[in-house]
Amino acid sequence: MKLFKNRQSAFLMASPYIAWAVIFIVVPLAMVIYYGVTDNSGALTFENIARISESGYLKALYRSILLAFISTLICFLLAYPLGMILSSMKLTRNTYLVTLFILPMWMNFLLRTLTWMTLLEGKGVINTILEFLHLPTINIINTSGAIVLGMVYNFLPFMILPIYNSLSRIDDNIINAARDLGADSLQTFLRITLPLSVPGIISGITMVFIPALTTFAISTMLGGSKILLIGNIIEQQFTQVYDWHLGSGLSIVLMIFILLNMIIESVSDKEGGIF
């Protein structure tokens, strides 16, 4: 290959980014780890990480995982049929339609969340309408339910897009071949469509689960600060309590969970299916 005279010139060309990545990705992460395993005096300690086992923090972590899991599941259940419908439609029309479904992604994230504050409040829009219709009012603002709703609303496009992409890439001939060989529609779905869309499902899950697991804005806005997620706790260590060591220690725990999630997903990806 003659694109580069030699390895050195290629390296030279990549070096600005390598330097950038070291300074702005590797070093900052190392600093989080450093703060996480030291105390105020700079002595090595694992207390910051171990404190995740305290009931308050553990509860918050458990709650974060649970809410993120529920949100991801709901997003998946909503998005998969949608992806199938969209991918089965005629090409000319569906680009507009697909865009319509991911358009809210371009609205500011906080505005999307704020919308639900306005809707769900005790004297918000939904309750006003319900009252007008003489129906019982709902009271889900400042509950876990409101947070899940906020997560689903915010992250749904991130699930729709990859699932739609992977479904629309499936060659119709394969489906037809399966049909010709006698498979019914359920069998075709379970043995052809679903396995072939696994990469899309996995990237959709990642794109929803991780932001949902680590958010603090959604829980602050829709949870009335009553429901703390692990993201809130970490945020507060930096912006209120001013304990960078504990904040970093808990961040390390969070990173371990993200890593675990990645490993599980890559394993299930290699095995060719999660079902």
Binding site: W20, P81, N108, L114, L156
Partner: protein
């Protein structure tokens, strides 16, 4: 029958996604400050919004950061992707591994880690720190979309051009750039979107007296939502909608489709 169910399903999801936005737009014309009462039609929240300097400067900041971060990250990301061809596979996978970190990692950890770095370097905080942070988390998105294009490049054409006497730069521009351009453009778009939408990383890397739209809205929400914010949402929504319409209407887009 199946078609009808499909239509209904699409409609339900669309209503779920758009009803809240439509509600905000309606509220932005409500002269009563209360969300529960309709006090008549008004444009006062819009006039107030336009005379609000804080919103104007936050908007300028947001766009400026997004545009600059997109330009820098697209250039750095594209150059790096091309350079990767010439690197040995071990170094290449190390670089790709590191590049994946900001994408996989939680925004909150990325934000905190950069905040620690900026404090350590005494970089102050504000425009520069936010820009550096945005470039950092944008580069992976650019590389993600440029890399497949670079991998599928046909180098023989490039070599042929060289053999025919073209300078390397000219040969690159004529043979390779057109092939990777779609990847570069979509990478840049992705970077721009990510930058516009970011709240968490900006929140941790911003300093005194500097707000982007996201941080401004977050502050406003904590103080109680003012109807000006509804007007702002309405405007943003209309702008986004019309921009997308323009993109889809433009004739050369038909070729790019998938």
């Amino acid at each position: 029958m199946k078609k009808v169910f499909e239509r209904i399903y699409l409609a339900i999801i669309l209503i779920f996604m758009y009803a809240p936005i439509v509600t905000l737009i309606i509220l932005s014309f409500n002269s009563s400050k209360s969300r529960a009462k309709w006090g008549g039609f008004t444009l006062k929240w819009y006039t107030r919004l336009f005379s609000d300097q804080a919103v104007a400067s936050a908007l300028v900041n947001t766009l400026l950061i997004a545009v600059l971060a997109t330009i820098f990250s697209t250039i750095i990301g594209t150059i790096t992707c091309i350079a990767m061809i010439g690197l040995n596979s071990k170094l290449r996978s190390v670089i790709m591994g590191i590049t994946n970190i900001p994408m996989i990692n939680a925004d909150i950890v990325t934000g905190i880690s950069l905040m620690l770095l900026f404090r350590f370097l005494h970089l102050g905080s504000g425009f520069t720190t936010i820009l550096l942070a945005h470039i950092t988390f944008n580069i992976p998105f650019v590389m993600l979309s440029v890399m497949p294009r670079v991998k599928s490049l046909n180098f023989y054409v490039y070599e042929a051009a060289l053999d025919l006497g073209a300078t390397p730069l000219y040969a690159f521009r004529k043979t390779m750039l057109p092939d990777i351009m779609p990847g570069v453009v979509s990478g840049a778009l992705m970077a721009f979107t990510m930058s516009l939408d970011d709240f968490i990383i900006t929140y941790f890397t911003k300093g005194s007296g500097f707000e982007t739209l996201s941080t401004l809205i977050y502050n406003e929400v904590k103080r109680g939502i003012q109807p000006e914010i509804y007007a702002l949402s309405a405007i943003i929504f209309v702008v986004v909608l019309s921009l997308l319409m323009i993109i889809y209407r433009s004739p050369n887009n038909k070729v790019k489709e998938k």
